[in-house]
Symmetry: D2
Subunit: 250 residues, 4 copies
Amino acid sequence: MKKINLTIWNEFRHEKKHEEVRKIYPDGLHRTIAGYLAAEDLDIRCVSLDEPEQGLPDEVLNSTDVLIWWGHCAHSAVADELVERIRDRVIHGMGLIVLHSGHYSKIFRRMMGTECRLLWREVGEKERLWVVDPGHPIAAGLPATFALPNSEMYGEYFDIPQDGHIVFMSWFEGGNVFRSGVAFQRDRGKIFYFSPGHESYPIYHDPNIIKVLANAVRWAAPAKIFPDRITPQPESLETIRTANPYGSVH
Amino acid sequence: MKKINLTIWNEFRHEKKHEEVRKIYPDGLHRTIAGYLAAEDLDIRCVSLDEPEQGLPDEVLNSTDVLIWWGHCAHSAVADELVERIRDRVIHGMGLIVLHSGHYSKIFRRMMGTECRLLWREVGEKERLWVVDPGHPIAAGLPATFALPNSEMYGEYFDIPQDGHIVFMSWFEGGNVFRSGVAFQRDRGKIFYFSPGHESYPIYHDPNIIKVLANAVRWAAPAKIFPDRITPQPESLETIRTANPYGSVH
Amino acid sequence: MKKINLTIWNEFRHEKKHEEVRKIYPDGLHRTIAGYLAAEDLDIRCVSLDEPEQGLPDEVLNSTDVLIWWGHCAHSAVADELVERIRDRVIHGMGLIVLHSGHYSKIFRRMMGTECRLLWREVGEKERLWVVDPGHPIAAGLPATFALPNSEMYGEYFDIPQDGHIVFMSWFEGGNVFRSGVAFQRDRGKIFYFSPGHESYPIYHDPNIIKVLANAVRWAAPAKIFPDRITPQPESLETIRTANPYGSVH
Amino acid sequence: MKKINLTIWNEFRHEKKHEEVRKIYPDGLHRTIAGYLAAEDLDIRCVSLDEPEQGLPDEVLNSTDVLIWWGHCAHSAVADELVERIRDRVIHGMGLIVLHSGHYSKIFRRMMGTECRLLWREVGEKERLWVVDPGHPIAAGLPATFALPNSEMYGEYFDIPQDGHIVFMSWFEGGNVFRSGVAFQRDRGKIFYFSPGHESYPIYHDPNIIKVLANAVRWAAPAKIFPDRITPQPESLETIRTANPYGSVH
């Protein structure tokens, strides 16, 4: 069996700076997620922003099948050149799973073309998720609804493109609603955005959340990474009989 | 009646360099299009790349309701900063109509998030367009099918997002097919891509093509340009009773 | 100005049977809605199930541009033949606005192809609507969010097709969420489903709800009703040179 | 390994009536397809219209994971009751692959809600298919384009819902284009329509066509068949504090 090469990228700064966050994720939330996701069909690497080449040198990125992305306070520190390399890899087939505040990451906004803004409130209110497409592979094995006792509110209006396939919607105690799990395809790559995951709460210790991530990794994994495309096609496949009185100045 | 402020942006270099193109569009194809589109409900401005601020200083862009974009050989000359200003205006409601080789313009690719590549062949073969959504306002008054005697081939696979609403599909003599008229929405702005329009052929003298553009301008015109959004929402609308044992480190 | 012919169809049985409902809608909720929607550009007719030909004889249906549908306890009483006539008119361009429990009407389920089922609870809890596409014409002039003090809960999972363009999403006090305003296109006709509207509460007296309906009528109104289509096309538009060694047994 | 239960339903009348068709498909096209699709992970059954219960008694239909449907001259002979049973099974998860003239079958039109009409011409012209989504599992292993030397023309406008995910588009020698491979989801079931397959031509002997069908069967196979849903939810998950001054007359 060919394993899925999963790379989990974490900004990994909150955990170093804040005692409260470190208590929940002592080695960084990427390693917590990696621990829970560990499985026979996955080869998992954990990388972070302050490593060489921001954790994604060519040899890592170009052998990644699915990339999980968690970033928050340091979006602007991510090199534009890295964003383009990631985008290029998605275009060729790599899966991309963007978590929580990654909605405002350079890479997610770059892939969407829009601003990807949303209402937010950080007071630890209750969030309740609902499965909106029970037949979707990312919802497999999950209950129709499940709650997170404390969460950051992310609310509509969320300016994502209209082809977002909604897998989860969230209810917030404070009166907001949100498309909290949304699947996209961009060229040959799959993208899944999943909003729960504020660093102050033990959300990545929740079995339902981990189940969503586990499903999403398998869903986003490409059958293959596609080669580059050649687009000029000077020879036609069918006979052209029309005269061209204008010549070509291309 | 409030008029629609339409700005037609043309790269305007082929017309200066090539006698063959100048014969077809003596004053630039933007002015040819403007002449045909002239109507009571439109205020039309023609601008081009080699004008100050590349033709779109703030006072022009910020009073534009719909922007038509034709570019080809000088995509890379368009300033990134201008691309961001245009994108920002689309996000707030401005309509954007991208023509022909504009599929590979910075602004279109920026809005789509993908590479927007396609097969192409420039031998002047016949193109035949089909209306794929007869009820769509951009197809109003058009025949079910119409032909262009000479055209550049643009063919699938075209890597645009899946929410492209297909209004026209094209048949090419040499055996290719293409989604030649595709409508998108990005945040509050509408975008229409329309592929016919190679500079060597008198395509913008064709009444059906002009009809498509005329329809597209009205379709893309916003009811209004929206103000900036405020996204932090510290006060909830419904009462939050859940205790937050974690504090906030946002 | 050509007026929009709006026909409001109401089952009109709850109002006759229940004193509580009659207090809120003395002449039937269709007439309440008609009173609020009255405007220069609309010609409004009110019809109901127990009228001849169930309120929609040919001369009414075939002169209707937009049909509003409210039904609940008597879905099965609607003649299948009438459902097909309505569907045929939508296919040719008529707009259809389906309200509240009409999610389970024969006509809505016929247009969707799915069961259109949803969770429900009738205890008069609070509902809060959110605009999910502020640029959509049906959301024009509405606040980002507004509440209904008492409402029937309609909740996900709602098994509608994936091309439903979400204009509103609802939050319910009891913990549910719902895609409460969803726009579709079927052939040349537009369809809008809007869920608030239980007969026991004065929901159609709410100015925001009326604003949604007023917007939806203009959005759904067709530019024209299309003629029948002819689909055999024995003569080709381009020359066919391929030999057919098999003959035709069509 | 759990095998996929594939049932291939064929109208199976042309083959009996027409010598020319029988030459190409001596035992019926369903058996030809079954022969080519035979594989370790599939349990294949071949059934047809003139068998008891029109080939799909409960014990067959209710153990089918994916149903392939080919019908043409006898659409109206299919019992409405069978159509509803098939639809019910799709709603619960069964995959449905509709071939060629099945675009006008009762079951396909029932699932789509629209008329599903298209232009057609039966003169044996050349058809060329293009892959429009190279990353889609149904396109796996297929060339970017491939031709059928003789085919029936099916052309746009095809009035299917807007969420049809286009996998293949076709070019016809006579000047037409068509969305020839389109994927849908309806509730928990997947549906794929694939247009090539006129009975007079040996299309189901073509290796590319068979590859498409083989891919489509795996794509449409459900992870599981879902149980019935319960939709009244009288008990709320979150506490409701709002008073209901209106009572309930549901």
